[in-house]
């Protein structure tokens, strides 16, 4: 059975692209979220195997969302997707409980590598 993924990014463009990359590799995209609070809500509802999480999103940022999700489920597997120039925030996200991160612009191979690492 394929792994389920929740894709969180405020840009449809990014969600589309991540979804395409992962779907191509056989993952099942079960949901998308465009704000941090939506991500938390959808996580609760869908219990995906993996979450990809943007850092800068309106309403609730990605790092706060990671904290919330990890509070609910300490085993949550979250992959941060950050833009360049956010290294400091990435560290914060890892401290908050994210497992790994990839940096935009994405290279499909890097994304898949990171996903495999996170899923262990």
């Amino acid at each position: 059975m394929s792994h389920t993924v929740l894709v969180c990014d405020d840009a449809i463009f990014m969600r589309t692209m991540i979804t395409d990359i992962l779907a191509q590799a056989g993952f099942e995209i079960v949901g998308e979220a465009e704000t941090g609070s939506q991500a938390v809500e959808k996580y609760r509802e869908l219990k995906p195997d993996l979450v990809t999480m943007d850092i800068v999103m309106p309403d609730m940022g990605g790092i706060d969302a990671v904290r919330e999700i990890v509070k609910q489920d300490p085993d949550a597997k979250i992959l941060m997707c950050s833009a360049m120039g956010q290294q400091a925030l990435v560290v914060e996200a890892i401290q908050a409980g994210a497992k790994d991160f990839v940096v935009k612009p994405f290279q499909p191979s890097r994304v898949l590598e990171a996903v495999q690492r996170v899923l262990g």
């Binding site: 840009a11 449809i12 979804t19 990359i21 833009a83 956010q86 400091a88 612009p105 290279q107 499909p108």
Partner: protein, 592 residues
């Protein structure tokens, strides 16, 4: 991965964010100490940057990055808006928009961004206190612009540049730099490094993404909706034929089926029309910036208000409205609103008001542009109208309609007539032409010293309308019900003559008549003695259209056709009747 398939999505979403930037900048300008707009701006620009980087548009990425850096500083420092900053950010936003548009069409190389980049960097360096802002992760300033010395060399390989600057007073600089490099390499970064005063890490370019991909988004391209609409149109036509057939056969089974098909296709049609509906804010949202810039340029004080933003129109109509509305708003600010000093002299508030509003009216939507400016000088316009022969030389007033007709004369220069500044007529003909093509109309109200208001009336959807099918000789024409007020019979109402035109008196009002036979040059047969008159109404204007007969009402699918040179300007399109033969659609605006 073929990135070109994402270009359209990139463009659409970037445009949205750039429009949002305008709104946020305007908001910040209004409330300079507010913090929310800066945060929003940062997020919007950040998102554009991320998308551009993914698309491999290095220059867009670079420009967005520099803008983001400045915004980040402003955000962290809770810096209030200054006029200088706002001007810079407006300019940067426009440059970014230009960059996005050019990149998508493969012309990124033509971009000239050196000046705006330098200005952004300059502002950022002045904003940063001492050795730069403190980011939560440490002393590094991750948002410092990459390679300020040679920004243009950034293309075309997409990559991420991280410049880490160590403060001069930091101890163990060499060691720290090495740590940074090691850490970066651990993250998969390669590239050159320059140790010493600082360290530079240039990760390998992300390169062209590989592999194919299935697009999965909720947006539906307009052409898809158009395609659906065409199909539904055919279905509606086929339904008409089926109904006709059922009526001939008198078979209850076929009847039942025809009724069921009718219902289903109506539902389907309603759904698709609904899917095409778009709130007017999608076009209105670009105007606050336009009005602001124009007022600024002209040194006027203008408060701009938008009402009814949520009112919906067919996407195809809405897309055509941008230019006409821009024209009218320009006119309002340029020619309507007086300078503050003049307003004070006249006992008005120094700040003029321009209102753009949308409201639903029966089967149409009214969009008005109103200003509280000086109004149109009727006496002078009347003089001009007499000279041009638009009105009777002995007329002593101009009705609103006549005023509009004068203003809408192509190339009408009102430099001497309307205001001492320049004309108001300029462009009204363009607006009218566009509206007519959409099956809409325009009305004007103007009070000297109090202001001017233009009201545009548009059908809610272009695609399918209910229409009266009228016969003239052996020909059939469709008249959309949108503007039909009532129908009467010739001979049952009093006729009179007004300004040389035949007219009827209806509800104590004079309604001029148009004989369709004469207008369309139909000569066969004789008209019936009691011709029906279809009374069209648009705002205050009414016209009675005399036809030979009425064949009934039905839903028609509006289609365009390539009108040959010389075609009478009274058709808004054509439709296909139940028997498969085309019929032209009469345009109420053209007949009035």
């Amino acid at each position: 991965m073929d990135l070109s398939q994402y270009a359209e999505l990139f463009l659409a979403e970037s445009r949205e964010h750039l429009t949002a930037c305008n709104q946020l900048l305007l908001e910040w300008e209004k409330h300079p100490s507010g913090l929310a707009p800066v945060g929003g701006l940062f997020r919007a620009v950040h998102t554009v940057k991320g998308m551009a980087a993914t698309m491999g548009y290095a220059r867009v990425t670079d420009l967005a990055h520099r803008m983001e850096s400045l915004l980040d500083l402003l955000r962290r420092g809770a810096h209030p808006a200054t006029d200088e900053l706002l001007q810079l950010l407006f300019r940067a936003r426009d440059a970014l928009e230009h960059a996005v548009e050019l990149s998508v069409v493969g012309r990124e190389r033509e971009l000239e961004v050196a000046e705006i980049v330098a200005d952004l960097d300059h502002a950022a360096s002045r904003m940063a206190p001492g050795g730069g802002p403190h980011s939560p992760g440490g002393r590094a300033t991750p948002s410092t612009p990459p390679r300020p010395d040679s920004p243009v060399e950034l293309e075309p390989a997409p990559g991420r540049l991280v410049q880490v600057t160590l403060r001069p007073e930091a101890p163990l600089k060499g060691g720290r730099a090495l740590l940074v490099v090691k850490k970066a390499q651990g993250l998969g970064a390669g590239g050159d490094e320059a140790l010493g005063s600082g360290a530079r890490v240039e990760p390998g370019a992300a390169g062209v993404l590989e592999g194919g991909g299935r697009s999965r988004h909720i947006r539906v391209a307009l052409r898809r909706l158009d395609g659906l609409m065409d199909l539904i149109g055919e279905l509606v036509t086929a339904r008409g034929r089926l109904n006709q057939l059922a009526a001939e056969r008198r078979d209850p089974a076929i009847d039942d089926l025809a009724i069921q098909v009718s219902r289903l296709s109506s539902d389907l049609q309603a759904e698709i029309i609904q899917a095409r509906m778009t709130p007017v804010w999608q076009v209105f949202d670009r105007f606050p910036r336009l009005v602001r810039d124009l007022a600024r340029e002209l040194g006027k004080q203008v408060a701009f208000r938008v009402e009814g933003k949520e009112i919906e129109l067919d996407r195809a109509i809405l897309d055509e409205l941008g230019d006409p509305l821009m024209h009218l708003l320009r006119n309002a600010v340029d020619h309507g609103i007086e300078p503050a000093s003049e307003r004070r002299r006249r006992g008005k508030q120094p700040e003029g008001e321009v209102v753009l509003s949308a409201a639903r009216e029966r089967a149409s939507v009214a969009i008005t542009v109103t200003d509280d400016g000086r109004g149109i000088d009727r006496a002078k316009t009347l003089e001009r109208a007499k000279r041009d022969g638009v009105v009777d030389p002995h007329a002593d007033t101009l009705t609103h309609d006549q005023l509009l007709r004068v203003l809408a004369r192509p190339g009408f220069s009102t430099a001497e007539t309307v205001t001492s500044v320049s004309g108001r007529g300029v462009g009204i003909d363009v607006v009218m032409t566009r509206l007519r093509a959409l099956g809409g109309t325009i009305d004007i109200r103007s009070e000297p010293g109090k202001g001017t208001s233009f009201a545009l009336r548009l059908p809610v959807t272009l695609a399918i309308v209910r229409a009266i099918i009228a016969s003239v000789g052996s020909e059939r024409y469709a008249l959309p019900l949108t503007y039909v007020a009532e129908t009467v019979e010739f001979g049952t109402v009093k006729t009179t003559v007004v300004e040389g035109r035949e007219a009827i008196v209806l509800h104590d009002r004079v309604v001029p008549l148009v004989h369709l036979r004469r207008l369309l040059g139909v000569t066969q047969d004789a008209p019936p003695p009691r011709s029906p008159i279809i009374v069209l109404e648009m705002g205050e204007r009414r016209t009675g259209v005399v036809v030979d007969g009425m064949l009934g009402q039905q839903e028609i699918v509006v289609k365009g056709f390539d009108a040959p040179a010389g075609t009478l300007p009274v058709f808004s399109g054509a439709t296909i009747m139940a028997d498969g033969v085309p019929a032209l659609i009469l345009d109420a605006g053209g007949l009035l």
